[in-house]
Symmetry: C2
Amino acid sequence: VSADGRAFTTGVKTTKGVVGYDLTRLLIGSEGTLAVITEATLRLTPRPEAKRTLRAIYRDVESAAEAVVRLMGQPVTPCALEFMDHRAIEMIRDYPEAAALPTDAGALLMIEVDGPAAYLEAAEAAVRAAAAGHGLLRVESASDPAEVKALWATRKALSPALRHVAPKKINEDVAVPVANIPALVRALEGLATRYGITIVNFGHAGNGNLHVNLLIDPEDPGQAEAAQGCLSEVFDQVLALEGTLSGEHGVGLEKRDYVDRELDPVALELMHRLKATFDPRGILNPGKGLPDPHPAPSPS
Amino acid sequence: VSADGRAFTTGVKTTKGVVGYDLTRLLIGSEGTLAVITEATLRLTPRPEAKRTLRAIYRDVESAAEAVVRLMGQPVTPCALEFMDHRAIEMIRDYPEAAALPTDAGALLMIEVDGPAAYLEAAEAAVRAAAAGHGLLRVESASDPAEVKALWATRKALSPALRHVAPKKINEDVAVPVANIPALVRALEGLATRYGITIVNFGHAGNGNLHVNLLIDPEDPGQAEAAQGCLSEVFDQVLALEGTLSGEHGVGLEKRDYVDRELDPVALELMHRLKATFDPRGILNPGKGLPDPHPAPSPS
Protein backbone atom coordinates (compact mmCIF):
# COMPACT_ATOMS: atom_id res chain seq x y z
CA VAL A 1 0.00 0.00 0.00
CA SER A 2 1.49 3.32 -1.07
CA ALA A 3 1.91 6.27 1.28
CA ASP A 4 -1.22 7.85 -0.20
CA GLY A 5 -3.25 4.78 0.69
CA ARG A 6 -3.53 2.97 -2.64
CA ALA A 7 -3.07 -0.80 -2.85
CA PHE A 8 -0.80 -2.02 -5.64
CA THR A 9 1.09 -5.13 -6.70
CA THR A 10 4.65 -5.53 -7.96
CA GLY A 11 6.71 -8.39 -9.36
CA VAL A 12 5.94 -11.41 -11.52
CA LYS A 13 4.74 -14.96 -11.00
CA THR A 14 7.43 -16.27 -13.35
CA THR A 15 11.05 -17.03 -12.45
CA LYS A 16 12.15 -14.30 -14.86
CA GLY A 17 10.74 -10.90 -15.73
CA VAL A 18 12.22 -7.56 -16.82
CA VAL A 19 9.21 -5.30 -17.40
CA GLY A 20 9.45 -2.04 -15.45
CA TYR A 21 11.68 -1.21 -12.49
CA ASP A 22 12.17 -3.84 -9.78
CA LEU A 23 9.95 -2.30 -7.11
CA THR A 24 9.67 -5.65 -5.32
CA ARG A 25 13.35 -5.75 -4.38
CA LEU A 26 13.36 -2.03 -3.64
CA LEU A 27 10.57 -2.56 -1.08
CA ILE A 28 12.16 -5.69 0.44
CA GLY A 29 14.36 -4.50 3.28
CA SER A 30 13.03 -0.94 3.17
CA GLU A 31 11.76 -1.44 6.74
CA GLY A 32 8.28 -0.13 5.99
CA THR A 33 9.60 3.30 5.01
CA LEU A 34 8.54 3.28 1.33
CA ALA A 35 5.23 1.36 1.39
CA VAL A 36 3.32 -1.07 3.57
CA ILE A 37 3.61 -4.73 2.53
CA THR A 38 0.31 -6.48 3.20
CA GLU A 39 0.80 -9.66 1.18
CA ALA A 40 3.77 -11.56 -0.21
CA THR A 41 3.88 -14.52 -2.60
CA LEU A 42 6.96 -16.67 -2.09
CA ARG A 43 8.66 -19.09 -4.42
CA LEU A 44 9.24 -22.56 -3.03
CA THR A 45 12.23 -24.74 -3.86
CA PRO A 46 12.24 -28.54 -3.64
CA ARG A 47 12.98 -29.87 -0.19
CA PRO A 48 16.37 -31.63 -0.15
CA GLU A 49 16.16 -35.39 -0.02
CA ALA A 50 18.62 -35.76 2.85
CA LYS A 51 20.82 -33.79 5.22
CA ARG A 52 23.91 -34.45 7.29
CA THR A 53 24.91 -32.40 10.36
CA LEU A 54 28.44 -32.07 11.72
CA ARG A 55 29.84 -30.36 14.78
CA ALA A 56 33.52 -29.48 14.63
CA ILE A 57 35.32 -28.36 17.78
CA TYR A 58 38.48 -26.26 17.64
CA ARG A 59 41.11 -25.25 20.13
CA ASP A 60 40.63 -21.53 19.48
CA VAL A 61 38.58 -19.05 17.47
CA GLU A 62 41.35 -18.37 14.97
CA SER A 63 41.46 -22.05 13.97
CA ALA A 64 37.69 -22.17 13.58
CA ALA A 65 37.68 -18.95 11.54
CA GLU A 66 40.34 -20.35 9.20
CA ALA A 67 38.22 -23.49 8.80
CA VAL A 68 35.24 -21.34 7.77
CA VAL A 69 37.35 -19.86 4.97
CA ARG A 70 38.35 -23.36 3.80
CA LEU A 71 34.77 -24.66 4.03
CA MET A 72 33.36 -21.84 1.90
CA GLY A 73 36.27 -21.99 -0.55
CA GLN A 74 35.59 -25.52 -1.81
CA PRO A 75 32.78 -26.65 -4.12
CA VAL A 76 30.51 -28.44 -1.60
CA THR A 77 28.81 -25.36 -0.13
CA PRO A 78 27.26 -26.13 3.27
CA CYS A 79 23.57 -25.26 3.67
CA ALA A 80 24.33 -24.15 7.25
CA LEU A 81 27.58 -23.02 8.82
CA GLU A 82 27.29 -21.64 12.32
CA PHE A 83 30.10 -20.39 14.54
CA MET A 84 30.40 -20.09 18.35
CA ASP A 85 33.43 -18.59 20.05
CA HIS A 86 34.94 -19.67 23.39
CA ARG A 87 32.91 -17.15 25.38
CA ALA A 88 29.71 -18.43 23.76
CA ILE A 89 30.72 -21.96 24.76
CA GLU A 90 31.44 -20.82 28.33
CA MET A 91 27.96 -19.24 28.48
CA ILE A 92 26.32 -22.64 28.04
CA ARG A 93 28.86 -24.75 29.96
CA ASP A 94 26.37 -25.44 32.74
CA TYR A 95 23.47 -26.27 30.44
CA PRO A 96 22.82 -30.01 30.07
CA GLU A 97 23.00 -29.64 26.27
CA ALA A 98 26.66 -28.72 26.50
CA ALA A 99 27.68 -31.52 28.83
CA ALA A 100 29.45 -33.38 26.04
CA LEU A 101 31.69 -30.47 25.04
CA PRO A 102 35.37 -31.08 25.80
CA THR A 103 36.84 -28.72 28.39
CA ASP A 104 39.45 -27.39 25.96
CA ALA A 105 36.84 -26.40 23.33
CA GLY A 106 37.83 -22.89 22.21
CA ALA A 107 35.32 -22.56 19.35
CA LEU A 108 32.88 -24.73 17.45
CA LEU A 109 31.28 -24.90 14.04
CA MET A 110 27.93 -26.45 13.14
CA ILE A 111 28.08 -27.59 9.53
CA GLU A 112 25.20 -28.95 7.46
CA VAL A 113 25.17 -30.32 3.94
CA ASP A 114 22.04 -31.36 2.08
CA GLY A 115 21.06 -32.80 -1.27
CA PRO A 116 20.32 -36.16 -2.86
CA ALA A 117 20.89 -39.07 -0.46
CA ALA A 118 23.36 -40.70 -2.88
CA TYR A 119 25.57 -37.63 -2.68
CA LEU A 120 25.77 -37.07 1.06
CA GLU A 121 28.64 -39.42 1.79
CA ALA A 122 30.88 -37.58 -0.68
CA ALA A 123 29.58 -34.24 0.59
CA GLU A 124 30.37 -35.13 4.19
CA ALA A 125 33.85 -36.27 3.18
CA ALA A 126 34.45 -32.95 1.41
CA VAL A 127 33.39 -30.82 4.37
CA ARG A 128 35.30 -33.03 6.81
CA ALA A 129 38.42 -32.52 4.70
CA ALA A 130 37.86 -28.76 4.68
CA ALA A 131 37.12 -28.67 8.42
CA ALA A 132 40.33 -30.52 9.20
CA GLY A 133 43.40 -28.41 9.88
CA HIS A 134 45.32 -26.54 12.55
CA GLY A 135 43.51 -26.57 15.90
CA LEU A 136 40.76 -29.08 15.10
CA LEU A 137 39.99 -31.16 18.20
CA ARG A 138 37.03 -33.30 17.16
CA VAL A 139 34.32 -33.72 14.49
CA GLU A 140 31.05 -35.54 15.13
CA SER A 141 28.33 -36.14 12.56
CA ALA A 142 24.70 -37.12 12.70
CA SER A 143 21.99 -37.91 10.23
CA ASP A 144 19.04 -39.24 12.20
CA PRO A 145 16.73 -36.58 13.70
CA ALA A 146 17.50 -37.30 17.38
CA GLU A 147 21.27 -37.09 16.86
CA VAL A 148 20.89 -33.91 14.80
CA LYS A 149 18.77 -32.35 17.53
CA ALA A 150 21.40 -33.23 20.14
CA LEU A 151 24.16 -31.59 18.08
CA TRP A 152 22.12 -28.42 17.53
CA ALA A 153 21.14 -28.21 21.20
CA THR A 154 24.39 -26.41 22.03
CA ARG A 155 23.72 -23.68 19.50
CA LYS A 156 20.04 -23.36 20.44
CA ALA A 157 20.88 -23.05 24.15
CA LEU A 158 22.96 -19.98 23.48
CA SER A 159 20.39 -17.22 22.97
CA PRO A 160 18.43 -18.03 26.17
CA ALA A 161 21.72 -18.26 28.08
CA LEU A 162 22.83 -14.85 26.82
CA ARG A 163 19.49 -13.27 27.65
CA HIS A 164 19.80 -14.71 31.16
CA VAL A 165 23.32 -13.36 31.75
CA ALA A 166 22.86 -9.94 30.17
CA PRO A 167 19.23 -9.06 29.45
CA LYS A 168 20.20 -5.69 27.95
CA LYS A 169 23.17 -6.86 25.91
CA ILE A 170 23.92 -5.07 22.65
CA ASN A 171 23.52 -7.55 19.78
CA GLU A 172 24.94 -6.52 16.39
CA ASP A 173 24.86 -8.54 13.17
CA VAL A 174 27.77 -7.33 11.11
CA ALA A 175 28.91 -9.26 8.03
CA VAL A 176 32.22 -9.38 6.17
CA PRO A 177 33.39 -11.33 3.10
CA VAL A 178 34.06 -14.87 4.35
CA ALA A 179 37.79 -14.59 3.64
CA ASN A 180 37.95 -11.73 6.15
CA ILE A 181 36.34 -13.59 9.06
CA PRO A 182 39.67 -14.48 10.68
CA ALA A 183 40.70 -10.83 10.65
CA LEU A 184 37.33 -9.78 12.09
CA VAL A 185 37.55 -12.33 14.88
CA ARG A 186 41.05 -11.09 15.76
CA ALA A 187 39.89 -7.47 15.72
CA LEU A 188 36.95 -8.25 18.02
CA GLU A 189 39.25 -10.02 20.49
CA GLY A 190 41.46 -6.94 20.57
CA LEU A 191 38.55 -4.55 21.13
CA ALA A 192 37.12 -6.72 23.94
CA THR A 193 40.45 -6.56 25.75
CA ARG A 194 41.03 -2.88 25.15
CA TYR A 195 37.54 -1.78 26.28
CA GLY A 196 37.26 -4.34 29.10
CA ILE A 197 33.95 -5.59 27.68
CA THR A 198 32.94 -9.22 27.37
CA ILE A 199 32.11 -9.75 23.71
CA VAL A 200 30.43 -13.02 22.72
CA ASN A 201 30.59 -13.84 19.02
CA PHE A 202 28.48 -16.40 17.23
CA GLY A 203 26.41 -16.59 14.07
CA HIS A 204 26.08 -17.49 10.45
CA ALA A 205 29.73 -17.74 9.55
CA GLY A 206 29.03 -19.19 6.10
CA ASN A 207 27.54 -15.80 5.18
CA GLY A 208 30.31 -13.92 6.95
CA ASN A 209 27.55 -12.79 9.31
CA LEU A 210 28.51 -12.67 12.99
CA HIS A 211 26.39 -11.72 15.97
CA VAL A 212 28.62 -9.55 18.09
CA ASN A 213 27.17 -9.41 21.60
CA LEU A 214 28.48 -6.79 24.00
CA LEU A 215 27.53 -8.00 27.47
CA ILE A 216 27.15 -4.76 29.35
CA ASP A 217 25.00 -3.39 32.12
CA PRO A 218 23.45 -0.21 30.69
CA GLU A 219 22.66 1.00 34.24
CA ASP A 220 26.39 1.50 34.71
CA PRO A 221 27.24 4.82 32.94
CA GLY A 222 30.88 3.80 32.55
CA GLN A 223 29.98 0.55 30.81
CA ALA A 224 27.40 2.23 28.60
CA GLU A 225 29.96 4.79 27.43
CA ALA A 226 32.64 2.18 26.85
CA ALA A 227 30.12 0.15 24.84
CA GLN A 228 29.40 3.09 22.53
CA GLY A 229 33.11 3.64 21.89
CA CYS A 230 33.68 -0.06 21.34
CA LEU A 231 30.68 -0.40 19.01
CA SER A 232 31.89 2.50 16.93
CA GLU A 233 35.26 0.79 16.51
CA VAL A 234 33.58 -2.55 15.69
CA PHE A 235 31.76 -0.85 12.82
CA ASP A 236 34.95 0.85 11.57
CA GLN A 237 36.78 -2.49 11.60
CA VAL A 238 33.93 -4.22 9.75
CA LEU A 239 33.92 -1.54 7.06
CA ALA A 240 37.71 -1.67 6.76
CA LEU A 241 37.26 -5.40 6.09
CA GLU A 242 34.81 -4.63 3.22
CA GLY A 243 31.82 -5.63 5.29
CA THR A 244 28.38 -4.27 6.13
CA LEU A 245 26.89 -3.00 9.39
CA SER A 246 23.90 -5.32 9.14
CA GLY A 247 23.63 -8.69 7.47
CA GLU A 248 20.00 -9.32 8.31
CA HIS A 249 18.63 -7.40 11.31
CA GLY A 250 18.27 -4.07 9.58
CA VAL A 251 18.98 -0.50 10.65
CA GLY A 252 15.89 0.91 12.37
CA LEU A 253 16.78 3.60 14.88
CA GLU A 254 19.75 1.92 16.54
CA LYS A 255 22.13 1.96 13.59
CA ARG A 256 20.85 4.88 11.51
CA ASP A 257 23.59 7.21 12.71
CA TYR A 258 26.29 4.80 11.48
CA VAL A 259 24.80 4.24 8.02
CA ASP A 260 26.69 7.08 6.38
CA ARG A 261 29.98 5.40 7.26
CA GLU A 262 29.01 2.53 4.95
CA LEU A 263 26.97 4.06 2.14
CA ASP A 264 28.38 6.08 -0.71
CA PRO A 265 27.28 9.72 -0.17
CA VAL A 266 25.74 9.95 -3.64
CA ALA A 267 23.88 6.67 -3.09
CA LEU A 268 22.66 7.92 0.28
CA GLU A 269 21.40 11.13 -1.33
CA LEU A 270 19.52 9.04 -3.93
CA MET A 271 18.00 7.01 -1.09
CA HIS A 272 16.80 10.17 0.62
CA ARG A 273 15.24 11.28 -2.66
CA LEU A 274 13.62 7.86 -3.06
CA LYS A 275 12.13 8.18 0.40
CA ALA A 276 10.77 11.64 -0.43
CA THR A 277 9.33 10.33 -3.70
CA PHE A 278 7.53 7.36 -2.16
CA ASP A 279 6.52 9.07 1.08
CA PRO A 280 6.40 12.85 0.57
CA ARG A 281 4.64 13.47 3.89
CA GLY A 282 7.06 11.28 5.86
CA ILE A 283 4.36 9.12 7.46
CA LEU A 284 5.82 5.66 6.77
CA ASN A 285 7.89 4.46 9.75
CA PRO A 286 9.37 7.95 10.13
CA GLY A 287 13.00 8.34 11.08
CA LYS A 288 13.94 4.70 10.50
CA GLY A 289 16.65 3.23 8.32
CA LEU A 290 18.48 6.36 7.13
CA PRO A 291 20.17 9.22 8.95
CA ASP A 292 18.45 12.59 8.70
CA PRO A 293 19.08 14.05 5.26
CA HIS A 294 21.51 16.87 4.74
CA PRO A 295 19.93 19.60 2.63
CA ALA A 296 20.21 18.05 -0.84
CA PRO A 297 21.83 20.08 -3.59
CA SER A 298 19.30 20.93 -6.26
CA PRO A 299 19.40 18.27 -8.99
CA SER A 300 20.88 20.78 -11.42
CA VAL B 1 27.12 7.25 -12.63
CA SER B 2 24.13 9.39 -11.68
CA ALA B 3 22.27 11.60 -14.13
CA ASP B 4 24.12 14.63 -12.76
CA GLY B 5 27.46 12.99 -13.53
CA ARG B 6 28.58 11.74 -10.14
CA ALA B 7 30.13 8.29 -9.77
CA PHE B 8 28.78 6.18 -6.92
CA THR B 9 28.76 2.58 -5.72
CA THR B 10 25.91 0.46 -4.42
CA GLY B 11 25.59 -2.99 -2.88
CA VAL B 12 27.78 -5.10 -0.63
CA LYS B 13 30.66 -7.53 -1.02
CA THR B 14 28.99 -9.94 1.41
CA THR B 15 26.29 -12.48 0.56
CA LYS B 16 23.92 -10.62 2.86
CA GLY B 17 23.36 -6.96 3.60
CA VAL B 18 20.36 -4.81 4.57
CA VAL B 19 21.79 -1.31 5.04
CA GLY B 20 19.89 1.27 2.98
CA TYR B 21 17.61 0.72 0.01
CA ASP B 22 18.56 -1.90 -2.57
CA LEU B 23 19.71 0.45 -5.33
CA THR B 24 21.68 -2.35 -6.98
CA ARG B 25 18.60 -4.37 -7.88
CA LEU B 26 16.69 -1.23 -8.77
CA LEU B 27 19.37 -0.35 -11.33
CA ILE B 28 19.64 -3.90 -12.71
CA GLY B 29 17.17 -4.14 -15.57
CA SER B 30 16.49 -0.40 -15.62
CA GLU B 31 17.87 -0.30 -19.17
CA GLY B 32 20.16 2.65 -18.52
CA THR B 33 17.26 4.94 -17.66
CA LEU B 34 18.14 5.61 -13.98
CA ALA B 35 21.95 5.67 -14.01
CA VAL B 36 24.87 4.49 -16.13
CA ILE B 37 26.49 1.26 -14.94
CA THR B 38 30.22 1.45 -15.59
CA GLU B 39 31.44 -1.45 -13.44
CA ALA B 40 29.86 -4.57 -11.95
CA THR B 41 31.26 -7.06 -9.45
CA LEU B 42 29.73 -10.50 -9.84
CA ARG B 43 29.51 -13.35 -7.41
CA LEU B 44 30.79 -16.70 -8.68
CA THR B 45 29.33 -20.06 -7.74
CA PRO B 46 31.28 -23.33 -7.80
CA ARG B 47 31.38 -25.00 -11.20
CA PRO B 48 29.38 -28.25 -11.13
CA GLU B 49 31.52 -31.38 -11.11
CA ALA B 50 29.64 -33.08 -13.94
CA LYS B 51 26.77 -32.62 -16.37
CA ARG B 52 24.48 -34.87 -18.36
CA THR B 53 22.61 -33.75 -21.49
CA LEU B 54 19.43 -35.36 -22.82
CA ARG B 55 17.37 -34.75 -25.94
CA ALA B 56 13.76 -35.88 -25.79
CA ILE B 57 11.66 -35.97 -28.96
CA TYR B 58 7.86 -35.78 -28.86
CA ARG B 59 5.11 -36.41 -31.37
CA ASP B 60 3.60 -32.93 -30.86
CA VAL B 61 4.08 -29.66 -28.97
CA GLU B 62 1.32 -30.40 -26.46
CA SER B 63 3.12 -33.57 -25.33
CA ALA B 64 6.42 -31.72 -24.98
CA ALA B 65 4.74 -28.88 -23.07
CA GLU B 66 3.15 -31.35 -20.64
CA ALA B 67 6.59 -32.94 -20.15
CA VAL B 68 8.03 -29.52 -19.24
CA VAL B 69 5.43 -29.23 -16.48
CA ARG B 70 6.35 -32.69 -15.16
CA LEU B 71 10.10 -31.97 -15.38
CA MET B 72 9.82 -28.74 -13.38
CA GLY B 73 7.39 -30.28 -10.89
CA GLN B 74 9.78 -32.90 -9.50
CA PRO B 75 12.75 -32.32 -7.18
CA VAL B 76 15.62 -32.79 -9.67
CA THR B 77 15.51 -29.34 -11.25
CA PRO B 78 17.28 -29.32 -14.64
CA CYS B 79 19.99 -26.69 -15.11
CA ALA B 80 18.82 -26.27 -18.73
CA LEU B 81 15.47 -27.05 -20.31
CA GLU B 82 15.05 -25.84 -23.87
CA PHE B 83 12.01 -26.32 -26.09
CA MET B 84 11.62 -26.37 -29.89
CA ASP B 85 8.26 -26.71 -31.62
CA HIS B 86 7.58 -28.53 -34.90
CA ARG B 87 8.04 -25.42 -37.02
CA ALA B 88 11.41 -24.81 -35.39
CA ILE B 89 12.39 -28.38 -36.24
CA GLU B 90 11.22 -27.91 -39.85
CA MET B 91 13.40 -24.77 -40.09
CA ILE B 92 16.53 -26.82 -39.54
CA ARG B 93 15.45 -30.02 -41.34
CA ASP B 94 17.98 -29.48 -44.13
CA TYR B 95 20.86 -28.60 -41.83
CA PRO B 96 23.34 -31.44 -41.31
CA GLU B 97 22.95 -31.05 -37.53
CA ALA B 98 19.32 -32.14 -37.74
CA ALA B 99 19.95 -35.17 -39.95
CA ALA B 100 19.35 -37.57 -37.08
CA LEU B 101 15.93 -36.19 -36.17
CA PRO B 102 13.09 -38.63 -36.86
CA THR B 103 10.64 -37.48 -39.55
CA ASP B 104 7.71 -37.59 -37.12
CA ALA B 105 9.42 -35.29 -34.56
CA GLY B 106 6.75 -32.74 -33.57
CA ALA B 107 8.71 -31.07 -30.76
CA LEU B 108 11.89 -31.57 -28.80
CA LEU B 109 13.32 -30.77 -25.40
CA MET B 110 16.98 -30.34 -24.50
CA ILE B 111 17.39 -31.24 -20.84
CA GLU B 112 20.54 -30.84 -18.75
CA VAL B 113 21.24 -31.85 -15.18
CA ASP B 114 24.43 -31.06 -13.31
CA GLY B 115 25.99 -31.63 -9.92
CA PRO B 116 28.32 -34.06 -8.20
CA ALA B 117 29.36 -36.96 -10.47
CA ALA B 118 28.07 -39.53 -7.97
CA TYR B 119 24.60 -38.04 -8.28
CA LEU B 120 24.19 -37.82 -12.04
CA GLU B 121 22.94 -41.34 -12.64
CA ALA B 122 20.04 -40.84 -10.21
CA ALA B 123 19.44 -37.36 -11.64
CA GLU B 124 19.26 -38.68 -15.20
CA ALA B 125 16.87 -41.41 -14.09
CA ALA B 126 14.62 -38.80 -12.45
CA VAL B 127 14.46 -36.55 -15.50
CA ARG B 128 13.99 -39.52 -17.83
CA ALA B 129 11.04 -40.62 -15.70
CA ALA B 130 9.58 -37.10 -15.83
CA ALA B 131 10.20 -36.78 -19.58
CA ALA B 132 8.40 -40.07 -20.24
CA GLY B 133 4.69 -39.87 -20.99
CA HIS B 134 2.11 -39.37 -23.70
CA GLY B 135 3.70 -38.56 -27.05
CA LEU B 136 7.34 -39.26 -26.19
CA LEU B 137 9.11 -40.77 -29.21
CA ARG B 138 12.75 -41.04 -28.12
CA VAL B 139 15.25 -39.92 -25.49
CA GLU B 140 19.00 -39.79 -26.08
CA SER B 141 21.62 -38.81 -23.54
CA ALA B 142 25.25 -37.77 -23.68
CA SER B 143 27.93 -36.93 -21.21
CA ASP B 144 31.18 -36.62 -23.17
CA PRO B 145 31.80 -33.23 -24.78
CA ALA B 146 31.55 -34.38 -28.41
CA GLU B 147 28.22 -36.14 -27.87
CA VAL B 148 26.88 -33.15 -25.95
CA LYS B 149 27.90 -30.83 -28.76
CA ALA B 150 26.13 -33.04 -31.30
CA LEU B 151 22.91 -32.98 -29.27
CA TRP B 152 23.00 -29.20 -28.86
CA ALA B 153 23.78 -28.65 -32.55
CA THR B 154 20.08 -28.83 -33.41
CA ARG B 155 19.21 -26.04 -30.99
CA LYS B 156 22.20 -23.91 -31.99
CA ALA B 157 21.38 -24.21 -35.69
CA LEU B 158 18.00 -22.61 -35.11
CA SER B 159 18.78 -18.92 -34.74
CA PRO B 160 20.91 -18.72 -37.92
CA ALA B 161 18.22 -20.69 -39.79
CA LEU B 162 15.49 -18.30 -38.66
CA ARG B 163 17.54 -15.25 -39.59
CA HIS B 164 18.06 -16.79 -43.01
CA VAL B 165 14.35 -17.48 -43.63
CA ALA B 166 12.97 -14.24 -42.18
CA PRO B 167 15.64 -11.61 -41.52
CA LYS B 168 13.06 -9.17 -40.15
CA LYS B 169 11.10 -11.62 -38.02
CA ILE B 170 9.49 -10.35 -34.83
CA ASN B 171 11.10 -12.14 -31.88
CA GLU B 172 9.32 -11.85 -28.53
CA ASP B 173 10.39 -13.41 -25.23
CA VAL B 174 7.23 -13.81 -23.19
CA ALA B 175 7.23 -15.92 -20.02
CA VAL B 176 4.43 -17.67 -18.13
CA PRO B 177 4.41 -19.79 -14.98
CA VAL B 178 5.67 -23.22 -16.07
CA ALA B 179 2.32 -24.89 -15.32
CA ASN B 180 0.73 -22.61 -17.96
CA ILE B 181 3.11 -23.49 -20.80
CA PRO B 182 0.72 -26.06 -22.36
CA ALA B 183 -2.06 -23.44 -22.44
CA LEU B 184 0.32 -20.86 -23.95
CA VAL B 185 1.47 -23.27 -26.65
CA ARG B 186 -2.16 -24.05 -27.56
CA ALA B 187 -3.04 -20.35 -27.65
CA LEU B 188 -0.09 -19.59 -29.94
CA GLU B 189 -1.12 -22.39 -32.32
CA GLY B 190 -4.61 -20.89 -32.48
CA LEU B 191 -3.33 -17.38 -33.19
CA ALA B 192 -0.97 -18.61 -35.92
CA THR B 193 -3.89 -20.27 -37.69
CA ARG B 194 -6.31 -17.38 -37.23
CA TYR B 195 -3.85 -14.69 -38.44
CA GLY B 196 -2.28 -16.86 -41.15
CA ILE B 197 1.19 -16.15 -39.73
CA THR B 198 3.93 -18.72 -39.29
CA ILE B 199 4.88 -18.60 -35.62
CA VAL B 200 8.00 -20.49 -34.54
CA ASN B 201 8.25 -21.14 -30.80
CA PHE B 202 11.36 -22.18 -28.94
CA GLY B 203 13.20 -21.14 -25.82
CA HIS B 204 13.93 -21.59 -22.16
CA ALA B 205 10.90 -23.66 -21.21
CA GLY B 206 12.20 -24.41 -17.71
CA ASN B 207 11.74 -20.71 -16.93
CA GLY B 208 8.41 -20.59 -18.75
CA ASN B 209 10.23 -18.30 -21.18
CA LEU B 210 9.38 -18.83 -24.86
CA HIS B 211 10.74 -17.03 -27.88
CA VAL B 212 7.72 -16.41 -30.05
CA ASN B 213 8.92 -15.68 -33.59
CA LEU B 214 6.47 -14.20 -36.07
CA LEU B 215 7.94 -14.88 -39.50
CA ILE B 216 6.61 -11.99 -41.51
CA ASP B 217 7.76 -9.84 -44.33
CA PRO B 218 7.45 -6.26 -43.06
CA GLU B 219 7.55 -4.98 -46.67
CA ASP B 220 4.07 -6.48 -47.10
CA PRO B 221 1.64 -4.00 -45.45
CA GLY B 222 -0.98 -6.72 -44.98
CA GLN B 223 1.46 -8.97 -43.15
CA ALA B 224 2.80 -6.12 -41.02
CA GLU B 225 -0.71 -5.16 -39.94
CA ALA B 226 -1.69 -8.79 -39.22
CA ALA B 227 1.49 -9.16 -37.17
CA GLN B 228 0.59 -6.17 -34.99
CA GLY B 229 -2.88 -7.58 -34.32
CA CYS B 230 -1.47 -11.02 -33.64
CA LEU B 231 1.24 -9.69 -31.32
CA SER B 232 -1.29 -7.74 -29.32
CA GLU B 233 -3.29 -10.94 -28.80
CA VAL B 234 -0.15 -12.89 -27.88
CA PHE B 235 0.51 -10.38 -25.09
CA ASP B 236 -3.10 -10.52 -23.87
CA GLN B 237 -2.96 -14.33 -23.75
CA VAL B 238 0.35 -14.25 -21.86
CA LEU B 239 -1.04 -11.85 -19.27
CA ALA B 240 -4.25 -13.90 -18.93
CA LEU B 241 -1.95 -16.84 -18.13
CA GLU B 242 -0.28 -14.78 -15.33
CA GLY B 243 2.83 -14.19 -17.40
CA THR B 244 5.09 -11.30 -18.31
CA LEU B 245 5.75 -9.56 -21.63
CA SER B 246 9.51 -10.00 -21.33
CA GLY B 247 11.45 -12.68 -19.52
CA GLU B 248 14.91 -11.37 -20.39
CA HIS B 249 15.11 -9.14 -23.49
CA GLY B 250 13.68 -6.03 -21.86
CA VAL B 251 11.25 -3.40 -23.07
CA GLY B 252 13.20 -0.68 -24.87
CA LEU B 253 11.08 1.09 -27.47
CA GLU B 254 9.42 -1.95 -29.02
CA LYS B 255 7.32 -3.02 -26.07
CA ARG B 256 6.89 0.20 -24.12
CA ASP B 257 3.35 0.75 -25.36
CA TYR B 258 2.27 -2.65 -24.02
CA VAL B 259 3.80 -2.23 -20.55
CA ASP B 260 0.69 -0.71 -19.00
CA ARG B 261 -1.24 -3.88 -19.78
CA GLU B 262 1.03 -5.75 -17.37
CA LEU B 263 1.95 -3.28 -14.65
CA ASP B 264 -0.34 -2.16 -11.86
CA PRO B 265 -1.25 1.52 -12.55
CA VAL B 266 -0.10 2.65 -9.10
CA ALA B 267 3.20 0.77 -9.53
CA LEU B 268 3.61 2.35 -12.97
CA GLU B 269 3.03 5.80 -11.50
CA LEU B 270 5.68 5.09 -8.84
CA MET B 271 8.08 4.02 -11.62
CA HIS B 272 7.51 7.28 -13.47
CA ARG B 273 8.23 9.18 -10.24
CA LEU B 274 11.37 7.09 -9.74
CA LYS B 275 12.52 7.99 -13.22
CA ALA B 276 11.88 11.71 -12.54
CA THR B 277 13.77 11.45 -9.23
CA PHE B 278 16.86 9.78 -10.68
CA ASP B 279 16.87 11.62 -13.99
CA PRO B 280 15.03 14.94 -13.62
CA ARG B 281 16.27 16.25 -16.98
CA GLY B 282 15.33 13.06 -18.84
CA ILE B 283 18.78 12.54 -20.37
CA LEU B 284 19.30 8.84 -19.53
CA ASN B 285 18.17 6.62 -22.44
CA PRO B 286 15.12 8.83 -22.95
CA GLY B 287 11.82 7.25 -23.89
CA LYS B 288 12.90 3.68 -23.17
CA GLY B 289 11.29 1.11 -20.90
CA LEU B 290 8.12 2.88 -19.81
CA PRO B 291 5.20 4.39 -21.73
CA ASP B 292 4.93 8.16 -21.62
CA PRO B 293 3.60 9.24 -18.23
CA HIS B 294 0.06 10.41 -17.80
CA PRO B 295 -0.05 13.63 -15.82
CA ALA B 296 0.48 12.31 -12.28
CA PRO B 297 -2.01 13.34 -9.62
CA SER B 298 -0.31 15.47 -7.00
CA PRO B 299 0.93 13.27 -4.18
CA SER B 300 -1.69 14.73 -1.79
